[in-house]
């Protein structure tokens, strides 16, 4: 038998962050698509219905959660006591390794890239890109939220983000960008889930379960 060593890879904070973010993004995509393509509720009196209002409420709620998760994730990347992984987001700067990984993914070569960082080169690009997307969609979301809710905390944030509204060319452009970014999340999720299972199958290290248990099973020394 090969020597299989359980190794803790993900801290509790990262795992909570991951799953709350996953759920939030899922809820945001579902409610967001309703807001973009609403269906009409023909039954009943107007006074008894508040479906769009509630959907927008849920959307804004999870949007703000996503913003806090983003800030938390940045904090963990910089100051996590388990493993501050901000350097790992630059794994792609090792070009040779990146080329190796592309070959490995395209099934040209069967030799996996060296496991120097927490993330593989393409993973680092994808996750860094995702965080950038989260930043953009939170910013455009805050603008749209601030324009729509005129009291409380939402009214406090609006003057801060208003200059970006003007730079981006008005609320219409902001809304369009917000809409396009949603599709980027949809594509990311499809590829991300597939690649997680693919890793699990190819390396048999428990990649999928590691995001729940925090533990991967490394074979030998690697």
């Amino acid at each position: 038998m090969e020597n299989i060593v359980p190794k803790k890879e993900w801290s509790v904070a990262i795992r909570y962050n991951h799953w709350i973010m996953a759920f939030s993004i899922f809820a945001l995509i579902v409610t967001g698509f309703y807001i973009a393509f609403p269906f009409t509720l023909t039954q009943g009196e107007t006074v008894n219905k508040f479906f769009m209002g509630n959907t927008r409420g849920v959307h804004v709620f999870f949007g703000v959660i996503l913003l806090f998760l983003f800030v938390w994730r940045l904090y963990l990347a910089a100051f996590s006591r388990f493993h501050a992984d901000w350097k790992d987001f630059f794994a792609w700067t090792d070009i040779n390794n990146t080329v190796k990984q592309i070959k490995f993914y395209l099934l040209v070569s069967k030799e996996p890239p060296a496991h120097k960082y927490l993330y593989g080169p393409l993973q680092s690009l994808a996750y860094g890109g995702l965080l950038f997307l989260v930043l953009l969609i939170c910013l455009t979301g805050l603008i749209l939220m601030g324009a729509g809710y005129h009291a409380g905390w939402t009214a406090l944030i609006y003057p801060v983000v208003k200059p970006f509204e003007i730079i981006l060319g008005g609320l219409a452009s902001v809304r369009y960008i917000h809409h396009v970014l949603t599709w980027a999340f949809v594509l990311f999720i499809i590829v991300h889930v597939y690649m997680a299972f693919w890793y699990d199958v190819i390396f048999k290290e428990g990649t999928v379960s590691s995001m729940i248990s925090g533990v991967v099973f490394r074979k030998g020394d690697h």
Binding site: F51, G170, A172, R175, V201
Partner: protein, 397 residues
């Protein structure tokens, strides 16, 4: 406790308004001594036009409310209205359709706003003045000479910049719009851009914009008050002038130079169809049951959620109606580049086609999603083939 707090709040607010009132009085007195006397008595003008004193008082209430001032300012609004004709105005026409002038001057019967605009001391207005040719030019020169730094320059229309501005040449001396605007605005007390053309360029600046048209502020690099709209509501223009007369300065402006009292909230925020939006009741196509019931126009392309304006509160044509009330969605005419950013006007914003084709961003993204899923399926199959030996070695162990 709560009562005490609100009493204290009241005292603070009252004090603020009293100070504002003092400022207003000082300013109106200063105007009395500085500006030329009114050409005719405003109350006589109103009487001649068949407007009763009562209508005038009602109008002051409306304007006081529209300017977001408490009722104690009503006499000040009345006094400012009487001073209206003392402000010398030079009105320039650039690349435009004169629709803004038309909107301001033509109504079914004269209301106070129209009369105010009629009595305004127009030193130069290319559409309205009787003078032509050299005489017209002399009017302008006289105004610039008589009231340097005192007159209000109102600009209607965008300024073309391409070919050195030669897409627009005006007058007997063949000046370009750019030259004329620079000459006049440099001597004006303030520049008011009326309509989206002079404010942001509007349709002339829509893609591909062959004449290089831009708004006045951008063309000259100056600060302007932008009364956006295509055409704008006369109330917003009159209210802004009233504010200047009353307080001797510009009203608060937003980041795009629009007065906040008029352009501070979106169409969507004060829309009478808003409850239908929140309820999830939408017009699906023109003339369907929802349209008959006055449901929300979001799905037939209403751009109210992206448009800052007060149309729904002030309305048009003596407050008879406004676009959304009439059954068509807002087209967002008070926003910069609305021909490009708000298109298509009768469809939701994400239905804009890309690159002149038929495809929208959703079509492209759906295609990408399908391609991704297909690619994943192919990759999974190929992986099973290429890595088929890995499994055997694992089993052997």
């Amino acid at each position: 406790m709560a009562h005490q707090k609100s009493a204290q709040y009241d005292r603070v607010v009252r004090k603020q308004y009293r100070e504002l009132m003092d400022r207003c009085k000082v300013n109106l007195d200063r105007m009395d001594s500085e500006l030329p006397p009114p050409v005719e008595d405003f109350q006589d003008v109103l009487k001649d036009r068949g407007v009763s004193r009562r209508s005038f008082i009602k109008w002051t209430s409306i304007m006081t409310g529209a300017l977001m001032l408490p009722p104690m300012f009503k006499p000040m609004v009345a006094r400012a209205a009487e001073q209206f004709s003392r402000v010398p105005v030079v009105w320039l026409h650039m690349a435009e359709c004169t629709g803004c002038s038309e909107a301001l001057l033509r109504t079914s019967y004269p209301n106070i706003d129209d009369i105010l605009l009629d009595t305004i001391s127009l030193e130069y207005h290319e559409t309205l003045m009787a003078a032509a040719g050299d005489q017209a030019e002399q009017c302008l020169e006289k105004a610039l000479h008589d009231f340097p730094g005192k007159f209000v320059c109102v600009v209607e229309g965008a300024i073309p910049l391409a070919m050195g501005g030669k897409y627009l040449t005006l007058g007997p001396k063949g000046k370009t719009g750019l030259q004329l605007a620079r000459e006049v605005t440099s001597k004006a007390a303030m520049t008011i851009c009326i309509g989206s053309c002079s404010a942001f360029g509007n349709v002339q600046a829509a893609k591909p914009n062959p004449t290089g048209a831009v708004g006045v502020g951008q063309a000259l690099g100056i600060e302007t008050v932008n009364i956006a709209g295509c055409p704008p509501n006369p109330n917003n223009f009159v209210g802004t002038i009233l504010h200047c007369l009353m307080f001797g300065g510009l009203p608060a402006l937003d980041g795009l130079g629009r007065p906040v009292w008029a352009y501070g909230k979106r169409i969507h925020d004060y829309c009478e169809r808003r409850p239908h939006y929140d309820a999830g009741e939408f017009v699906e196509e023109w003339g369907d049951d929802g349209a008959k019931k006055g449901w929300c126009l979001y799905k037939v392309g209403c751009k109210g959620p992206y448009t800052f304006a007060n149309c729904g509160r002030i309305r048009f044509n003596d407050a008879i109606s406004w676009p959304i009330m009439a059954g068509h969605g807002c087209i967002g005419c008070t926003e910069p580049n609305f021909w490009d950013t708000m298109a298509p006007l009768e469809k939701p914003i994400q239905d804009a086609t890309i690159g002149g084709g038929e495809a929208t961003v959703d079509h492209i993204a759906m295609g990408l999603t399908v391609a991704t899923v297909a690619g994943i399926a192919a990759h999974a199959g190929a992986t099973a083939w290429v890595h088929r030996d890995d499994k055997d070695t694992a089993n052997k162990e």
